[in-house]
């Protein structure tokens, strides 16, 4: 389903940006860049339905169907969340965490690297491992949209690479991704290595007080850095 922002204002009391109106195509990787404080996290929380918009609305649209964020039980089946920091002090095992959102066997079949951790407690994993578990859990919850808030911020190179690969898997299965990140390098490499049919549906936007301004998805690293600097 396409994710559509209709005249959307996000923020606490005061809007952080000009009203946002934009459609994000199903099946693509949609990256939101922006300086700290630009409102990336607030935008994601609003799309997730955790925070109410100040104005406007977020909807999921197909040609025949429209879903709104106020129906939280249905919304959760179409939009799942991966926070930037995997949770600490969780007594649950990896299998139990996955089971909160679906059969863990399914997660392992798509992400076999999870298998050896199944019976370990989430808090005994490294940040990189735990983050992969959190991403796999989100993919069990929603086969449709995945919202990630700087998911690679605390990961080493290997962890980052695993995470990007998991996103490719999700997209290959027909899912869509929205991602806020500062990881220009990782994102740039992903855009160049991902299958062309996926990147054709993808987008890069910069969030600022003026709103969302598009950048070319195949822009060079220098061009991206220049745009943000």
């Amino acid at each position: 389903m396409n994710l559509v922002l209709n005249d959307l204002e996000v923020g606490h009391m005061h809007p952080l940006t000009a009203p946002l109106t934009r459609s994000f195509g199903a099946g693509g990787m949609h990256v939101v860049l922006g300086a700290n404080g630009a409102g990336k996290t607030t935008l994601l929380r609003t799309v997730l339905g955790v925070q109410s918009p100040l104005k406007g609305e977020v909807v999921l649209k197909t040609e025949t169907n429209v879903l709104r964020a106020n129906d939280i039980s249905t919304w959760g089946k179409h939009v799942a969340f991966v926070p930037s920091m995997p949770p600490k002090h969780v007594g649950l095992t990896v299998a139990e965490v996955l089971s909160l959102s679906g059969p863990w066997e399914e997660a392992v079949s798509y992400h076999p690297q999870l298998e050896p951790w199944l019976n370990r407690r989430l808090s005994t994993l490294s940040d990189g491992q735990a983050q992969q578990v959190m991403a796999a859990r989100a993919m069990l919850q929603s086969k449709d949209w995945l919202m990630l808030d700087e998911p690679t911020a605390f990961l080493d190179i290997r962890g980052q690479r695993h995470l990007w690969e998991m996103l490719t898997t999700h997209l290959n299965r027909g899912g869509s991704v929205m991602l806020a990140t500062h990881d220009l390098r990782g994102m740039h490499r992903w855009m160049h290595e991902a299958p062309a049919d996926i990147t054709a549906l993808s987008s890069i936007h910069q969030l600022s007080t003026q709103g969302l301004s598009p950048l070319a998805y195949d822009a060079s690293l220098d061009a991206l850095e220049a745009a943000l600097g």
Binding site: L48, I72, S73, F81, P83, P87, G91, S101
Partner: protein, 325 residues
């Protein structure tokens, strides 16, 4: 969920021992035989069992379980291993109620005053609940209530009669011995109620440990969960505090004791384990109290709980410090 027969057996054993042992040697053979054959009954023994030991053991068991569960609930809700049922300020409200009744000499039994005090604080929390956007706000609220209450209590104490002061201090020591059979049964009823609620909400509580935002996107209705937790905690704590006095340690310590033995479990398992451990710890502590009573030393329940509990929690934290660092 895995049933843990060993834990449940341990709880049952502690309960049976608590009822069976005591200063008066009960003629159990005759008493139990009479239940089936309708034979001659030793009236004194029957009365001791029915009106003294049973209510006491039931109250200890139910309170231990209830406080253990509330401890788990608070530690999950605030995502803080040092949270306990006392953090909401409800127990402090009970103290204030009793302080007002006893120290000002109002004609109100202590348990009733405690219940009123607890529910006044609960009402305050309820009124403010909409403004408490996060658990942390609630935590600070509880802390401030505690400070205010202890200040007021100190003021009241400074002008109270020696007799009233003594009554208040004794109430503060806590006891399972003052409960009537109907009060004990009420606690057992609450035990069933809270137990069923916890089982029903186990999945939400598991999700909540993953993070506030994440839990909401997974379908946990935050404000509804918040309200249910506040209401149940207030109800249970109000009743337990009014029947037993302000029991400080059980709620905080029991989840740690449980996690020491079973670290890798979700809420559904924890509910059972903590319920059993809470009952065992309460019965054990009361056993010590009764033992010192028989030696005419009369250790207060709260002191025994702290003496038993503090080293246990310290040992647990010492051994598992990596987990909360």
């Amino acid at each position: 969920m895995k049933i843990r027969p060993l834990l449940l057996l341990m709880m049952l054993l502690a309960f049976v021992l608590h009822v069976a042992l005591g200063e008066v040697d009960i003629a159990w053979g005759g008493l139990l035989g009479a239940m089936f054959t309708g034979g001659e009954v030793n009236d004194l023994h029957a009365t001791i069992v029915k009106e003294v030991r049973m209510p006491r053991a039931l109250t200890a068991m139910a309170s231990g379980t209830l406080l253990g569960w509330l401890g788990l609930l608070m530690q999950t809700w605030f995502r803080n291993p040092l949270a306990g049922p006392g953090v909401l300020g409800i127990t402090s409200g009970g103290s204030l109620g009793v302080a007002l009744a006893v120290l000002l000499g109002l004609a109100l039994p202590a348990w009733m005053a405690a219940a009123v005090g607890c529910f006044v604080v609960l009402l305050l929390i309820g009124v403010g609940a909409r403004r408490f956007v996060s658990p942390v706000t609630t935590l600070v609220f509880g802390l401030m209530i505690s400070y205010a209450v202890s200040a007021i209590v100190t003021v009241l104490q400074s002008s109270a009669t020696a007799e009233a002061l003594q009554t208040f201090v004794f109430w503060g020591m806590g006891t399972f011995a003052k409960a009537s059979l109907s009060q004990a049964m009420f606690c057992v009823g609450l035990q069933a109620l809270l137990g069923m609620w916890m089982m029903r909400r186990a999945k939400w509580l598991d999700m909540w440990t993953l993070g506030e935002d994440l839990a909401q996107t997974m379908g946990v209705p935050k404000s509804r969960l918040h309200l249910e937790i506040l209401l149940l905690t207030g109800l249970v704590l109000g009743v337990v505090t009014s029947v037993c006095g302000p029991l400080a340690f059980l709620g905080l310590a029991t989840p740690h004791v449980y996690r020491f033995f079973h670290p890798d479990r979700g809420h559904l398992d924890a509910i059972q384990g903590i319920g059993a451990w809470g009952a065992v710890l309460a019965l054990l502590a009361d056993g010590v109290v009764r033992f010192t009573d028989s030696l005419a030393m009369h250790w207060p329940l709260n002191a025994v709980l702290a003496i038993l509990g503090a080293p246990v929690v310290l040992a647990v934290l010492w051994k598992r410090n990596h987990d909360w660092s």
